[in-house]
């Protein structure tokens, strides 16, 4: 059995760890609140943007703009994979990585070429160990600079698609459903899904455009990609904070359990020591008394 001193020093170290965990939990809670506010206020805008673009894709002739191109054969896929830079956030990254790996050996087999863009150190490092490197990777994204990153990523995706170097672009990230649940999603951003495709086959009448069709398409479509990427980054950031908060919360309560158990053990050990010492003393006096009576 460990000595009392060993147990006590262990308790002390667990207490230290617990303090760090609970501090991280508090920090994540604050960050989560801010990120969530940003996300929830951006959602209606991005949803409306997507709806308009999808409607446009259904009504407008695909020849009108390169971003409306619908490749006949989809052979080259570009995956934008969003993880976090740092760990200690529960299953946030590992789930995403595991699912993507499964996807790569199953459904993704039909593609001839798969390219990656990574957001976050975790995903990039994991896949670089497997000899998969991204065309581009972005790290150090936070609530203050994500907009610029979204713009950069989007403009690269757009020019790649326009140059016909890729046939399909999907985003893979954690969707923020609530502080307790985050769901991983695959989203195809290009070619643009046609909204209401299944409802009826007849092509509805095209929009009227002002000032010109070209100007509207250019503005709407390039912004569409940026809005999608920006939204995904926001979802991912918010999910990361939520996930870290939950992870740290359970780590804190686990530490509490460990401390409780160790304290119990320490007390037991102390009690045993006292009992042993008492026995020694009793034995000693007993034998002394016996000696005196002789």
């Amino acid at each position: 059995m460990a000595s009392l001193r060993q147990i006590r020093s262990k308790i002390k170290s667990v207490k230290g760890t617990r303090r760090i965990m609970s501090a991280m939990k508090l920090i994540s809670a604050v960050k989560l609140r801010r990120a969530q506010e940003l996300l929830l206020s951006f959602r209606p805008y991005s949803d409306a943007f997507m709806e308009i673009t999808k409607n446009l894709a259904r009504r407008c002739d695909p020849e009108r703009h390169p971003l409306l191109r619908r490749p006949e054969q989809v052979k080259r896929l570009h995956i934008v994979f969003m993880t976090s830079d740092r760990g200690l956030c529960g299953s946030f990254n590992s789930n995403l990585i595991r699912k993507l790996e499964t996807y790569l050996v199953t459904d993704a087999k039909k593609y001839e070429e798969i390219k990656f863009t990574f957001r976050g150190r975790r995903g990039r490092d994991h896949f670089s160990r497997n000899k998969i490197t991204g065309v581009e990777s972005y790290t150090g994204i936070n609530e203050r600079n994500y907009k610029e990153t979204a713009e950069k990523v989007a403009s690269e995706l757009v020019s790649e698609y326009v140059r016909e170097e890729t046939d399909e672009i999907i985003l893979v990230y954690n969707y923020f459903r609530s502080a307790l649940t985050q769901v991983m999603v695959y989203e195809r951003i290009l070619p643009i899904e046609q909204w209401g495709e299944t409802k009826d086959d007849s092509t509805p009448i095209d929009y009227l455009y002002e000032p010109t069709r070209e100007a509207v398409l250019k503005k709407l479509l390039t912004n569409y990609v940026r809005v999608r990427v920006e939204r995904a980054i926001e979802e991912s950031l918010t999910s990361e904070h939520a996930s870290r908060m939950t992870a740290m919360e359970s780590a804190t309560s686990n530490a509490d359990d460990v401390i409780k158990k160790l304290t119990l053990l320490a007390n037991k050990t102390r009690q045993t020591m006292i009992t042993t010492e008492l026995m020694d003393i009793v034995n000693g006096t007993e034998s002394l008394r016996k000696g005196g009576a002789d």
Binding site: P44, Y45, I52, N55, D206, L208, E210, A215, V216
Partner: protein, 85 residues
């Protein structure tokens, strides 16, 4: 007869989401009005005044560019910033 669904949305806020009678918005090629039964229409917006009527009430706001879509008696205005009257 409030039968146009108007939404005015900025990246940080949902400003208006209600049924109205008539909308007048500052298109880049000139101001345009929307009544029920309007053809599908997409326009870029100039900086200017957006008005809408609901019964006897008329409300105004300034929008700073953006895009507006009209489809199936629904008007969606996406703009970067709105200054409420």
């Amino acid at each position: 007869m409030a039968d146009i669904h108007l939404q005015v949305i900025t990246p940080v806020n949902l400003i208006v989401d209600e049924r109205v009678d008539e909308v007048v918005a500052p298109g880049e090629a000139g101001e345009f009005g929307v009544l029920p039964g309007h053809v599908p229409f997409i326009t870029m917006l100039a900086e200017g005044e957006l008005r809408y009527k609901k019964g006897a009430h008329e409300k105004k706001m300034i929008v700073e560019g953006g895009i507006a879509e009209v489809r199936d008696d629904k008007v969606t205005v996406l703009t970067d910033r709105v200054i409420l009257d």
